[in-house]
């Protein structure tokens, strides 16, 4: 929160529905990662559990399945949300990749390496955010489909299950590591927002952070505000 005053103007970043989706997504993903990687543990770690290991193993499976259902429901709801809800449609419109993202990525890397004077002006969703967002689509497609196969294992040939298992484990490892080096950094360790970006709680983004990370979006919102001052559809709501 360095330099972000308490009386600073804020803009709406996430709607209530989006925040609820996010909470369900990250709690169940955390549970899925913990209960899933318990199967990858070294045997000496597992043996340390002793006689309690059996019930831990039992609950591991139950929790993994409950979290899997929760994450699947939220994923399918999100598809419905971006296809049919007004806020969802605006979300996916801004999220779709375009040529500018490639240019942004190139220019940003050049700036970070000191080969360019200015950072590129980024819109509502930056190229990294878009990459993360669509990685979740890809990842969820893999883990939900292979997970369903393994849950209904009796109906599949053994080799398909082996393939499903390899994909499930690979995708889960990729997702877990990508969340740590990608998302956790962006919203927690990033010096702009440390210790955390509060947008997932209150849905707001400060003016300072807007200027730093989404300057193009900021300029667009201000321009819209100037042209029609009252009832801006997605603009800020005055001083907090």
């Amino acid at each position: 929160m360095s330099g972000h005053g308490n009386n600073e103007r804020v803009f709406a970043r996430l709607t209530k529905s989006e925040r609820i989706q996010h909470v369900i997504l990250f709690t169940s993903t955390t549970l899925l990662i913990i209960t899933g990687f318990m199967l990858m543990g070294e045997d000496w770690v597992v043996r340390m559990l002793g006689p309690t290991g059996k019930s831990i193993f039992y609950w591991r499976g139950i929790v993994h399945r409950i979290a899997a259902v929760a994450v699947s429901v939220v994923c399918f709801y999100h598809l419905f949300y971006v296809l049919f809800k007004t806020t969802g449609k605006s979300w996916i419109r801004d999220m779709l990749p375009r040529l500018k993202d490639g240019v942004d990525a190139y220019q940003n890397v050049m700036y970070m390496m000191g080969l360019r004077k200015e950072r590129p002006k980024l819109d509502r969703f930056t190229y990294l955010e878009k990459l993360e967002y669509f990685s979740v689509y890809f990842g969820m497609f893999i883990v939900i489909s292979t997970g369903t196969m393994m849950w209904t294992q009796s109906y599949w040939p053994k080799f398909y299950l082996d393939v499903a298992d390899a994909l499930h484990v690979g995708e889960a490892t990729l997702a877990a590591l990508a969340i740590i080096v990608g998302h956790i950094f962006a919203v927690h360790y990033n010096p702009h927002v440390y210790p955390m970006n509060r947008a997932f709680i209150d849905g707001n983004i400060s003016e300072t952070l807007m200027k730093e990370e989404h300057s193009l979006w900021y300029e667009r919102l201000i321009a819209e505000e100037v042209s029609k001052p009252a009832n801006t559809p997605e603009g800020g709501h005055g001083n907090a």
Binding site: V46, S154, D162, V163, T173, A178
Partner: protein, 419 residues
């Protein structure tokens, strides 16, 4: 000399495990060395010769005149064999060379209490160790588990013997007659490679010694030693024989040994502990399949002593029978033929192309042969894993590098006083 091969794994096992396993290892080793150690056949104070005992009713006989015999035998059981005169000393042992010229440690110490608490605690040394008349015991014969014992089977009154099991084992994949490998017969397991004459569950036995527990037995039966033994036997037979983790370790002793498997042209089992069954067993779950639940399922009438090659028609892991094996005891009740066949339940080091017999959905065998290219399957799985390894490396290095670069840029900006 021959016993040393059986003895070695017990030492190796002790090293790997913790204190509890160490103590159990000592108990097992002691019990085993009891069986191995040569004994005096005739010694002062020996109450009855084996023949006398054989002619008389056994411990479990319900005839009226059984009581004196029981008492006589109980006295024998108190160690009048004379072997413990020497074998009670814990230092008794020596180093010697085995058949393969390796130096092995032989321990001849026998803990008498431990032996008496074991399954064979009613037997005296000489009942199994025959022809031990000289000191040193140069005339000792190898213990034969298939010999006719002097104890009687209470259901028939006949003399008791393990010889049917020994015969079954000989015909099985592990036996001299049933094994496909003619050479290297010395690799084949003997009784004592799997059975170690363990003590009965000590906690339960302690409970049984309490008067209240056995009071109801005493209303009809007099001899408390007999009652305890009977209860221990029933309790042992009703409870689980071995935890799954022990079964896996036991089979792996040979089947995960690449040299031994190469000698017998068998696949080395390497991947079982990475399967879901293997993971669950590591957590202590006894509900999932261990080696024996598929290769010799009791629920389907198979026995570990009659285990056969998967290529034989009557094997529970033959492709024609696999579906039924997976569906046993509601494990995978809805298992289809496709689920059960087409790939192995656990991967092996050697990837070969197999010809398997396919059954129809009803489980009856058809003659249709399906070629399962294990090598191709292994390659496909390898490619998937490789794809993810590369992708993970690229994503982590790419994202991580980008974030580090970003940190550097922010630091640079702060120093310049930019933001």
């Amino acid at each position: 000399m021959q016993q040393s091969r059986e003895y070695k794994p017990a030492i190796g096992q002790r090293r790997r495990e913790g204190v509890w396993r160490y103590l159990l290892g000592i108990a097992i080793a002691t019990a085993m060395s009891t069986m191995m150690s040569p004994a005096f056949a005739s010694s002062p104070g020996f109450a009855a010769t084996p023949d006398d005992l054989a002619a008389s009713p056994g411990l479990l006989n319900q005839e009226e005149d059984a009581a004196p015999v029981v008492k006589a035998q109980a006295e024998v059981a108190k160690g009048q064999d004379g072997c413990f005169l020497c074998h009670k000393y814990s230092g008794l042992g020596r180093y010697e060379k085995d058949a393969k010229n390796r130096i092995v440690k032989r321990i001849f110490y026998v803990n008498e209490d431990m032996h008496r608490a074991s399954y064979h605690g009613r037997l005296n040394c000489s009942d199994c160790h025959e022809g031990v008349d000289k000191i040193p015991h140069t005339d000792a014969k190898k213990v034969d588990c298939g010999k006719t014992c002097h104890l009687t089977d209470p259901s028939t009154g006949k003399r008791f013997s393990h010889k049917d099991i020994v015969k079954d084992l000989e015909k099985s994949a592990h036996g001299a007659k049933g094994s496909a490998s003619g050479e290297e017969q010395s690799d084949l397991p003997a009784c004592r490679d799997c059975h170690t004459n363990k003590p009965y569950l000590l906690g339960v036995q302690q409970q049984m010694k309490s008067k209240a527990f056995t009071e109801i037995c005493h209303q009809c039966h007099e001899e408390s030693a007999w009652i305890q033994r009977f209860l221990s036997h029933i309790n042992y037979r009703l409870s689980m024989r071995r935890p799954s983790s022990e079964v896996v370790r036991l089979c792996s002793k040979c089947h995960a040994n690449p040299d031994m498997m190469a000698r017998h042209k068998l696949d080395v089992v390497v991947g079982f502990l990475d399967t879901f069954h293997g993971k669950a067993i590591q957590f202590g779950d006894e509900e999932v399949a261990n080696c024996l639940n598929c290769h010799a399922p009791y629920a389907l009438g198979f026995s570990p002593h009659r285990i056969t090659s998967r290529k034989k028609d009557n094997s529970p892991v033959n492709a024609a029978n696999k579906r039924e094996t997976c569906a046993q005891a509601n494990c995978h009740a809805a298992a289809t033929q496709e689920f059960a066949t087409g790939s192995k339940a656990h991967p092996s080091l050697v990837k070969s192309t197999l010809l398997v017999k396919e059954g129809d959905s009803g489980g009856t065998a058809t003659t249709k042969l399906v070629q399962v290219d294990e090598a191709l399957q292994a390659k496909i799985l390898h490619w998937i894993r490789l794809f993810y390894q590369i992708l993970i490396a690229a994503v982590v290095l790419g994202l991580g590098g980008h974030r580090l670069l970003d940190l550097y840029a922010m630091y640079r900006d702060t120093k310049r006083g930019g933001h």
